[in-house]
């Protein structure tokens, strides 16, 4: 499993609305929010359902599997933490639950990524109590917690 080191890369600025998501990632679990009233699924998490404005939040555990909806192999990014990491793969993965999530595809050669490719979540421990949900080709993830 490739484990791109990311010294100096941005860490998520976890806030009151998002901490449930990130705490689950730290446990190696992927969740999306669901409205407790109208049952609308949403990503990213937020305190109020934007459809019915309900504050009742439930969390739905995702299977962690999905497919690549689109991607790009990035050869240039001057931002700290990425300059030395190129090429890397930025992608939207469509989760089995139907929502698309921005992520990185890891665990395979960048030029082997294709739209429609089956992937599964791979949590990368980046320190500071944060694990990022990245995705790797289905079947390539041996240990879901930062292999």
């Amino acid at each position: 499993m490739s484990n791109p080191s990311r010294p100096g890369g941005p860490l998520p600025r976890i806030d009151e609305e998002s901490k449930g998501f990130w705490e689950a990632c730290e446990r190696g679990e992927l969740y999306v929010q669901q409205c407790g009233d109208c049952e609308l699924l949403r990503h990213y998490p937020r305190a109020l359902c934007p459809d019915c404005l309900s504050s009742r939040i439930t969390w739905k555990r995702c299977s962690g599997s999905g497919t690549v909806y689109t991607f790009t192999v990035v050869y240039q990014n001057q931002a700290p933490g990425f300059r030395g990491r190129v090429p890397y793969v930025l992608a939207y993965v469509e989760l089995a639950e139907g929502l698309r999530m921005l992520t990185n595809i890891v665990g395979c050669a960048a030029d082997s990524v294709r739209i429609g490719m089956a992937v599964e979540v791979h949590f990368e421990d980046v320190g500071h109590g944060v694990s990022l949900p990245m995705f790797a080709p289905l079947g390539s993830v041996a240990d879901s917690k930062g292999a």
């Binding site: 600025r13 976890i14 909806y69 240039q76 990014n77 001057q78 990425f82 990491r85 990185n104 990022l132």
Partner: protein, 383 residues
């Protein structure tokens, strides 16, 4: 009647600079203001509305101070590079209800000489969605590249078809003495340039330059005294697209909403448009915009831009100045869409003039196409 007929474009000015290490950003604003007011035949003392974008959070007050203006209408909307297209509409609406009579819209940027990585730096922090994006390393360009990749997958669009856009813009730039890059390029040149963010190559990307410009929008009464024929604002509309809870279709862009709404307000259809100024941050932006405005069906943009259709002399000439791909791109190009459209409608474009140009469409795209972006459409006409 939309009410917009109470206002018109009185003057425009494109700052000729592409590299201005010897100037300040506000100096470029001021020189652009002088140029547009001179073009309009109006005085700085006539200005009672000030609009700008790309400034610091309350930078509009500093800009007013720099120009020693005391306006009664202000607007510093920032929806990315389309902001200035939207601001022409805002200025016209403000004039229509009497909030001001002479609105000055200015832009100035030193993106190039300040070495600002417009498209391939990290994205700014602080908004809630950033924590779900920034750790994965998106850049502005990546967000357009992901739309291109999806477009190619869904519709069979080819890198050659995308390259055709860059080749056409360069052909136009060849006829624009102000354009930064004027030497013709071929599809092969585009495909041979390095891939920056797949599937987009270096020559699929707009330039980074310094630059600026200004537009003066004035009331019908004030347009009576202007130096050049006023240009009518026939219609306009704006839209935003974002991740939509994780459900957005990336090939549907803001133009799908703002384009038809603007044309409806103007009482025109695609067949009535003589030329378009389309924000060409990347080649894919042009393809996606043409489809979403309705000039062709979704997925047919690749074929549409071939056969010389979007070139001078073609059915729908686009970006006759050479666009952001070859003329200039100081970070927020929207104002140049309006400026060139006005020059075309006035018939001032010499060797790159579109014949019988009576109605022009400007469409600005701002932000990150595949993450969140704005669209602003403006229909201009000889009045």
């Amino acid at each position: 009647m939309s009410g917009l007929e109470d206002a018109g474009i009185a003057g425009v000015f494109e700052h000729p600079t592409r590299w201005a290490p010897d100037k300040t950003q506000f100096q470029i604003h001021a020189e652009s203001a002088r140029g547009a007011l001179d073009d309009a035949g109006l005085s700085i003392r006539d200005v009672d509305g000030l609009l700008s974008s790309g400034l610091s959070p309350i930078g509009l007050m500093y800009l007013a101070e720099h120009l020693n203006l005391h306006p009664r209408f202000h607007d510093s909307t920032n929806i990315g590079g389309s902001s200035f297209v939207a601001q022409v509409l805002h200025a016209a609406a403000a004039i229509a209800v009497g909030l001001c009579e002479v609105a000055l819209i200015t832009y100035g940027s030193k993106a190039s000489s300040d070495r600002f990585a417009v498209g391939t730096g990290g994205l700014s922090g602080g908004d809630p969605a950033d924590q779900f994006e920034a750790p994965f390393g998106p850049t502005v360009m990546n967000s357009y590249a992901m739309v291109a990749q999806r477009h190619m997958h869904e519709f069979g669009t080819t890198p050659e078809q995308l390259a055709e856009v860059a080749v056409t813009m360069r052909r136009h730039a060849h006829r624009n003495p102000l354009a930064k890059f004027r030497d013709p390029i071929t599809v092969d040149d585009v495909l041979a340039s390095r891939v920056v963010s797949s599937p987009l190559h270096l020559l699929d990307c707009c330039l980074i330059t310094d630059g600026g410009g200004a537009v003066v929008v004035a009331s019908k009464e004030r347009l009576r005294d202007t130096r050049n024929p006023p240009i009518g604002i026939l219609g306009g509309s704006e839209a935003l697209r974002h991740t939509a809870l994780g459900k957005r279709d990336l090939t549907e862009i803001a133009a799908a909403q703002s384009g038809p709404a603007a044309m409806k307000m103007a009482g025109v259809g695609c067949a009535d448009i003589d030329m378009c100024m389309i924000y060409d941050s990347f080649t894919i932006t042009v393809l996606a915009t043409l489809e979403n405005l309705g000039f062709c069906a979704r997925g047919e943009g690749g074929a549409f831009v071939g056969d010389g259709r979007i070139g001078l002399g073609g059915e729908l000439p686009i970006n006759t100045d050479g666009g952001g791909l070859s003329s200039n791109h100081p970070g927020m190009r929207g104002i140049f869409l309006v400026i060139e459209a006005v020059r075309q409608l006035r018939g001032e474009c010499g060797g790159r003039q579109v014949e019988d140009c009576e109605v022009a469409l400007c469409h600005g795209t701002g932000g990150m196409l595949g993450l969140r972006h704005s669209g602003a459409t403006l229909i201009l006409g000889r009045s």
